[in-house]
Assembly symmetry: C2
Homo-oligomer: 479 residues x 2
C-alpha cells in the first residue's frame, strides 16, 4: 500500500502533483492509444474502441494489437505502441496482466503521458508481484497510472470513455456538474446508468480499481480543483492513505460538497469488502466521526447518490430547517409533514403578512396554514400566487412543492411556474411528484431545468436535510 | 362519526353486512348510472363516463343529466335516474353537493343498489348538515353509499372505474392481487399511477373520502373476504370506529398481509391530517402498538406500498432471517450486506456441503463465501449453478440475487434463470437490479413473471424484513 512508494529511487518517483496532473491529461487527452483493440466484438479492447467511436471522441485514436494487420474498426492499427511515433496523451491497456509490465516500458519509449490499465488479474487475485512491477515501472518512468482492475475514466465533455461496457447496456449521462468516483466497477457502472436517466448531468467518472499508483486521495485532490466539478460522489470500501485523504477532504469540502457511500459499514459488510478489494475497512464509527468532523455527506444507499446530487448541484445553500410545504394533494402534504420531522426538519410557520396576502390571493377553499393545501383543482395561477408570497417570507428557509400531476389543474404550465420560482428565488426548493408517464414527462422537464424532483416526500426530506447539514458546516467554518 | 348511526330508525339502518354486500355490488356492477354525465369535457361526469368507455366496461351504462337532450358520448341519456326503468347496480353521483339529497331519494325510487358520491362540498368544508342528510337518507333507504368527497372505486377485473382523472394523466395498473384503500384521493391517485408502472397488478382501488356511510372498517371486512385480493394496502389518517377496525384487522391479518401507511405520525403531521380530513389522529405510538400487536405491516412512505406489495404478492412466507447474497457485482454485494444488517437481517453462512458443491461447480475465481461474488463475467450458467446449490441449503432462509445487467455476461438468459428459480423454489427470492433502459427491460421481464425486483439493496432488505416479520407473526399465531 502506501509503503510501496518509498521503495523506489527518488529521482523517478511520482509526486502527488504528478498524479493530479496525470489525471488532468487522462481526462482530456488529445490522443489515445488503445492497446488490445480488436476487430473481435468479444474482446474488451473492441468494446472500448467502439465506445470511443460511438460517443464521438474527437481526438486521435490509435488501435494497438500485437496481431494487427490492416485496419481495426476502420482505423489504422499498430502492432506496437512504439510504432505510432506521434504524441500519445493516454494509453488504455486492455491486454492480459502478464504482458503489461513489458508494455509499460514500451509506453515509456513511446512517450506516453498517462496510462489506464483496465485489465484485471493482479493483487485482487493474489498476483501481488505483478502489481508491484506495475507500480515500480510507473514510478521509474514517472507515468501516472490508473488501475489496474478498473473501468477507467469517462469525461462527458472531452468524451474520453474507457468503459468496456457497451453503450446499449449502460446509458451515458448528459454533461453536468457531478463527478463520481468509485472503488467498485459494479457500483460505478450501475450508478452511472441510473444517473443517465435523471435530469442532472455528469462531469467525470473515475473507477480506480486497485489504486496501485493513483489512489482515491489523488483523485480527490484533482476533483477539488476541477472547475467543471460542482459535486463529488465517492464509493469507497477503504482508504489507502488515511491521513492524506482526510487532509484532502478537509480542504475539498470547503469548496464543494462530497457525498460518500462507505461500503462495509457493518461487520459483515466490512468482511465482504475485505474479500472484495482487500480493503482494511476499519471501524465505520471511526469513518463516520471523520465524515462528520470534516463536513463530508454520508450516503446510506446507492440511491442517495442520485437524490443528494440533484439538490447539491442545483440549489443554493440553506442554514435553516424551517420548510414550507405547498401541495395540490392534501394527503401527500400530511405524509410530507411527517417526513420533515423524521429527517430532523420542521414545518415552517407563515408570517402574519404572508397569511394575509395568501387569504387575499387564494380562493376561500384554501386554508392559509402549513402545509398549504391549494386543493386538487389548483392551476398554475394558484401555484404562482402561493410561491410569490412564500418565497419572500422570512420565516421560511426552504420550500417543498408537492405537485401531483394527476389532478385536473396540473399541467406543463404548473411545471413552468415551479421552474420559474425554483431557479430565480433565493431559497432552495424541492419538488415531489409521484406518478407514471404523464408525471414523468413533467419531472424530466423540471429536472433538466435545474429543479430537483423526488418521487417520495421522504427522499426529498432526506436530501433537504443533507443540504442544510452541509450548509451549516460551511457556515461554522466561516464560509 | 359512529354515533351518527344510532340516531336512525332501526328498520332502515344499514348493518355492517349490508355495507360489505354493497361494496361487492359496487365493485362488480352489471349496470352503472352516471349522474352528472356530460358532453362537456371540463365536467367530472364527462371524465368518468369517458373512462368507463376507455377501459372497456362491458355492463350497461346510463348517463344521467338534468339538462340532457340526445346522446352523451354516443350513449342514450336520461334527464332523471327514475326514467331509466331498468335495474341499476351502481349510481355514481357527480353533481353539486346541494342537489345530492334529492337525488338519493330518486335513487331509492329507481331501485339503485349502491351509490358512490364523488362530489365534494360536505363536512370537509364545514357543510356538516348536508353530509348528515346523506347519511340519514342512505340509512333510511338502506342503500350502501361510498363517499362523499372521494375518487370512488376501481376494479381491474370488472372494469368499474369511477375515477374522475383522465387516463392520459394517470396510468391504469394491470390485473393483479393487490388491493389499495386510501382515505386521501391524492395519495390514492399518485400511488395508483406508480403501481401501474410496476410489474405486479392491482385487484381493487377504493377511495372512501369522508367515510360517511361505508368506512375503512367495512372496506377491510369486504377485502378480507375477497378472493382476488392477496395483499391489502391502506393509507389512513384516522379511523372512525377504532375498536371495530382493530377487530376487523385482527381477523384479516391472519388471512392476508395488510400494509398501513398512517398519515399524521408526527405531531405536526397529525395537525395537518386534522385540517385535511378532520381525522382525530390520536397518538402514533398508540397506532404503532396496535399495528405490532395484530401483525399489521407498517409503511413509512408511499414508496413502501410498492416495494412491500411486490414481495408479499409473489413470495412464500419465511420465518428465518438468514439471507444469502449472490451477485455479479462485488461492490454492490458489499452494500447489500450492509443493508441486511441495517434492517435486522443477517448474512447466511453456506453449509459445508454447499461450499464443496460451489467449489466444484464454479470457476476458481469465484470465492465460495458469503456474499457469493460470481464475478463480472458471470453468465446464466453460473447463476444457475449457484442457485441450484443455495436454493437447497438449509442454512439459508432467503436469497437476494444482486444482478447487474451492465456486465458482459448478464442478458435475458440470466433473467430467465432468475425467473425459473424464483418461481419454483421454496425460499423467497428478491432481485436487486440497478440501472437504466437495458436493465429496465429485464426488470419488467422478471416482475411480470412474479419476481420482486428492487433498485437498491436497502429497499430490497426493507421488503424482506417486512415479509419475515409478518411470517413470524403468523407463525406465533399458529398459522
Amino acid at each position: 500500500m502506501a509503503s510501496n512508494i518509498v521503495k523506489h529511487e527518488n529521482h523517478g518517483i511520482l509526486s502527488d502533483a504528478d498524479k493530479v496532473e496525470g489525471l488532468a491529461i487522462m481526462m482530456n487527452p488529445k490522443s489515445v492509444a488503445i492497446v488490445g483493440a480488436s476487430q473481435n466484438p468479444d474482446k474488451v479492447g473492441h468494446v472500448i474502441l467502439q465506445n470511443y467511436l460511438d460517443v464521438g471522441y474527437s481526438g486521435k485514436l490509435y488501435p494497438v494489437n500485437a496481431n494487427a494487420s490492416g485496419k481495426i474498426l476502420g482505423l489504422e492499427s499498430y502492432r506496437n505502441i512504439t510504432e505510432i511515433k506521434k504524441p500519445i496523451d493516454l494509453a488504455v491497456i486492455a491486454i492480459p496482466a502478464k504482458f503489461t509490465s513489458e508494455l509499460i516500458t514500451e509506453c515509456h519509449k513511446a512517450g506516453v503521458k498517462s496510462i489506464v490499465v483496465v485489465s484485471s488479474g493482479y493483487a485482487e487475485i493474489g498476483e501481488v508481484k505483478l502489481e508491484q512491477e506495475l507500480i515500480d515501472l510507473a514510478n521509474k518512468y514517472k507515468i501516472p497510472l490508473l488501475g489496474p482492475n478498473c473501468l477507467g475514466v469517462m469525461d462527458l465533455k472531452s468524451r474520453v470513455d474507457t468503459l468496456f461496457l457497451p453503450t446499449f447496456k449502460i446509458d451515458r449521462p448528459s454533461i453536468g456538474g457531478v463527478s463520481f468516483v468509485s472503488q467498485s466497477g459494479a457500483v460505478g457502472s450501475s450508478t452511472l446508468d441510473i444517473i443517465a436517466n435523471e435530469g442532472f448531468g455528469l462531469s467525470k467518472f473515475i473507477s480506480y480499481g486497485n489504486a496501485s499508483v493513483i489512489d482515491e486521495t489523488d483523485i480527490l485532490n484533482y476533483l477539488a480543483k476541477d472547475e467543471d466539478t460542482k459535486v463529488i460522489l465517492y464509493y469507497i470500501e477503504g482508504v489507502k492513505r488515511g491521513r492524506a485523504f482526510i487532509e484532502a477532504a478537509k480542504k475539498a469540502t470547503l469548496k464543494k460538497p462530497i457525498v460518500v457511500l462507505k461500503g462495509g459499514r457493518t461487520e459483515a459488510g466490512s468482511k465482504a469488502a475485505h474479500s472484495h478489494t482487500a480493503s482494511l475497512a476499519g471501524s465505520y464509527e471511526a469513518y463516520d466521526a471523520v465524515f462528520r468532523q470534516f463536513g463530508l455527506i454520508r450516503a446510506d444507499d446507492i440511491q442517495d447518490f442520485v437524490s443528494f446530487s440533484k439538490i447539491f448541484v442545483s440549489q443554493p445553500k440553506c442554514t435553516g430547517n424551517r420548510v414550507a410545504i405547498m401541495t395540490n394533494g392534501g394527503g401527500v402534504g400530511v405524509v410530507g409533514t411527517d417526513s420533515l420531522y423524521s429527517n430532523g426538519l420542521q414545518l415552517a410557520e407563515l408570517s402574519e403578512e404572508s397569511k394575509k396576502a395568501l387569504k387575499k390571493a387564494l380562493p376561500p377553499i384554501v386554508g392559509v396554514n402549513m402545509p398549504i393545501d391549494m386543493a386538487g383543482d389548483a392551476d398554475d395561477k394558484r401555484f404562482s400566487a402561493t410561491l410569490d408570497i412564500i418565497s419572500k417570507d422570512q420565516n421560511i428557509d426552504a420550500i417543498m412543492a408537492i405537485t401531483l400531476f394527476q389532478t385536473p389543474g396540473a399541467d406543463s404550465r404548473v411545471a413552468s411556474t415551479l421552474i420559474h420560482y425554483g431557479t430565480t428565488m433565493e431559497k432552495p426548493m424541492v419538488v415531489v411528484s409521484i406518478g407514471g408517464s404523464y408525471t414523468g414527462v413533467h419531472k424530466m422537464m423540471m429536472e433538466r431545468s435545474g429543479i430537483p424532483v423526488y418521487d417520495s416526500p421522504n427522499t426529498a426530506s432526506r436530501a433537504l436535510a443533507a443540504l442544510i447539514s452541509y450548509s451549516k458546516y460551511l457556515h461554522r467554518m466561516g464560509k
